[in-house]
């Protein structure tokens, strides 16, 4: 029966976190291949990929902390930065995709935003205040 010290157990936890992150990342990339349009692919790209990179950086942080006794501020900064910016980037790309009129998948149901955003007199309605700036720039 092998006996592990606390240091070795924490190292194994870090390494298994990294392995878990890589498996999640492969699942995310598989979703990027298989899903039908941009808006569903952005789910695979932003959520699970963010989870993968957070788990991997946390594993690296725990490994350096246990193995070397080195608390890396840069890894914590990287974790916070990725955690803040990945949803923002996904939202901006989806917004740009909708306004560039990339079509939805066929079985994605009714598109209620289309009649508000692209048809009719936009400046007259109150809902178009959000879209007003973009219409002026067109």
């Amino acid at each position: 029966m092998l006996s592990l010290t606390a240091k070795e157990i924490l190292e194994w936890v870090a390494i298994l976190l990294v392995l878990f992150a890589s498996i999640i990342s492969v699942i995310s990339a598989f979703g990027m291949i298989k899903l039908p349009d941009v808006y569903t692919r952005s789910h695979a790209a932003t959520k699970s990929s963010t989870l993968a990179v957070l788990a991997c950086l946390l594993g690296a942080f725990i490994y350096f902390w246990v193995h070397d006794g080195y608390v890396s501020i840069r890894l914590i900064l990287g974790i916070i930065f990725v955690f803040i910016t990945a949803p923002v980037a996904g939202h901006l790309v989806c917004r740009a995709a909708y306004r560039a009129r990339v079509p939805l998948a066929k079985n994605s149901g009714e598109d209620e935003l289309k009649s508000i955003l692209f048809d009719g007199d936009i400046g007259a309605t109150t809902t178009a205040v959000l879209a007003n700036e973009d219409v002026e720039n067109k």
């Binding site: 298994l16 990294v18 498996i23 990027m32 950086l57 070397d68 980037a89 995709a97």
Partner: protein, 94 residues
Amino acid sequence: MKETILLLALTFFMIAIALLLYRVIIGPSMPDRAIALDTIGVNLISAIAIISILLSTKAFLEAILILGILAFIGTIAFSKFIERGVIVDRKGDS
């Protein structure tokens, strides 16, 4: 054993990057390519973290921050270009 698991994880990340490169090449619209490039950047961050564990060095940890910032700014520039056709909007200066 630990190095084998880390190399296996690195291989998984490289498989993910290869699948995403397939999406970048065939992607039917430009936002597909932008999302796939953003995800490639995020996966490269994880790959750099694994490499710095494998080589047991701390010198690559700055590269993680730089790559995160570059991937974010690149995605923002792509999305603004897709939406408006310009990247730097000079309308508000007047």
